[in-house]
Symmetry: C2
Subunit: 329 residues, 2 copies
Amino acid sequence: MPSLFDIAAIGNAIVDVIAPASEAFLEAEGLTKGAMMLIDEAQAQALYKRMAPGVEASGGSAANTAAGVASLGGRAAYLGKVADDQLGEVFAHDMRAIGVDFRGSPLAGGPATARCLANVTADGERTMCTYLGASVELRDDDVDKEVVEGAEILYLEGYLFDPPAARRAFAKAAGLARGAGRKIALSLSDAFVVDRHREALLGFISGQVDIVFANEVELLSLFSTDDMTKAMAAIVELTAIAAVTRGESGSVILRGAESLPIKACPVEKVIDTTGAGDQYAAGFLFALAGGRSLDACGRLASLAAAEVISHYGPRPQVSLRELASSKGL
Amino acid sequence: MPSLFDIAAIGNAIVDVIAPASEAFLEAEGLTKGAMMLIDEAQAQALYKRMAPGVEASGGSAANTAAGVASLGGRAAYLGKVADDQLGEVFAHDMRAIGVDFRGSPLAGGPATARCLANVTADGERTMCTYLGASVELRDDDVDKEVVEGAEILYLEGYLFDPPAARRAFAKAAGLARGAGRKIALSLSDAFVVDRHREALLGFISGQVDIVFANEVELLSLFSTDDMTKAMAAIVELTAIAAVTRGESGSVILRGAESLPIKACPVEKVIDTTGAGDQYAAGFLFALAGGRSLDACGRLASLAAAEVISHYGPRPQVSLRELASSKGL
């Protein structure tokens, strides 16, 4: 069947509130640097009150990836839930304006659009506290059959393992994609998410996932080990391709016995690492859907990640298609 | 009387939606590059739909200036009206988080918080379309006597001449400040604002204003001339100090027969000029309230403006106090 989309992404639809923070602030708030923790609405309000002035930008891990694919000139669709409020309007606008197919209707009368309070330290590292709000109201009814069956690759974020209803949507989507002979990609998202849902993630990966994205800490957590060699050997037993990101050291792409190191693209100054992994996935999946080599996938992934960490906000600020073309990719 | 604040600013409380745009987009939308035009809610929705994905950041000319003064370590208060909605909450948070005294209560049951749709071209120039929403509901009741009488300098934006109720608030504040022996500063804001309200502005300046901020186009418009020498001679007849900004050519400070040229601070790359004039005013007024020389006022003004044009968004992203101190200012 010819495809309608290069990727269909499913995730928590979130607006980011991004503000600079000191290391002392993280400590005083009891936040683990670099991690994502879930908070309720009251905690979100209390933390927001103490945060520095910031900017708001549409986020959400898989949504950022969909936006990145669209920016690269790919055909991307996104499934996620916002509320019928101002931030929901912003989220929907930003998806559609970048060219992502986003057809879900906003939730009325429920919780507000999800917010991620991202505190960015001077080294560019982001520490996130997420109020899931309306995003957890994503149901299996919201999984559009035409979209999922029509996409070359279904992309899922590990964060979706947290809300129980979303996990059912996740399972339905995976079933549809598998039935239509499509590929399934998964991002592990966060070491604490992996820790909370290790068995479920392992089961899902070994049964259905073709491509896994993880950073080193997440991969170690998945296999409860501190030995990277073991973890890398273990992941290729479960899935066809694994891309392991290593921050400024670049990444390693694993396929069976193959291990392909990819350099990070140099960045003048790292401003905000929010969205680095998401844009890495965007570059990788866009190239993979286009039938490119693993090396080409890795290089486009690195380029997309480099663009996003050089400014505040989790999505590209320039056309990634033009950027890639200017670099001969 | 000892002062409570260095400046009290009054203006339209606005959240900016900032997105990149091409010259062709401005033309297709019939927008005059670099200007601010007022639009209604329906126009705002229609334009927003066609705009590129963006980021949201608290804005509003005088509010940006108050934020800049606070970032410099000054005591700033702000009077302006937001609605009881998500963007209103963002605006209030950002003011308080940077240390500005913002005591007004949000408007319930009326129009939404004001939005400025700022389209930024590749040269960093911003073209603005503003839906004034709740901001025009600022009334003379909202003018807090304690705040206005307690501030060394009352700072007003020319944009306030557009909404009739706000103009009454403006007049009340000027009367209170004058009665308490305080200084009054005014920004001309925009050439079209000047064109719409030329006589009223001239009357107000000659009667009550001590410090005028204007760019060259605004100043020429105020005196309906195309001769800068004439315009500069005319403004010093009406007010004690005038600061005329000239983009990358710097600025000129006028006081009586004195004319003091100030260099622009070099910027690696101009990203977004939104807020340049507002931060210039912040640096200038903070130094002036501290009894510094006109030269010192101008240099701090240039530094604050340079910081804000080097990133998206109309307010400082670093502590201007630390930046100034690192530059020996």
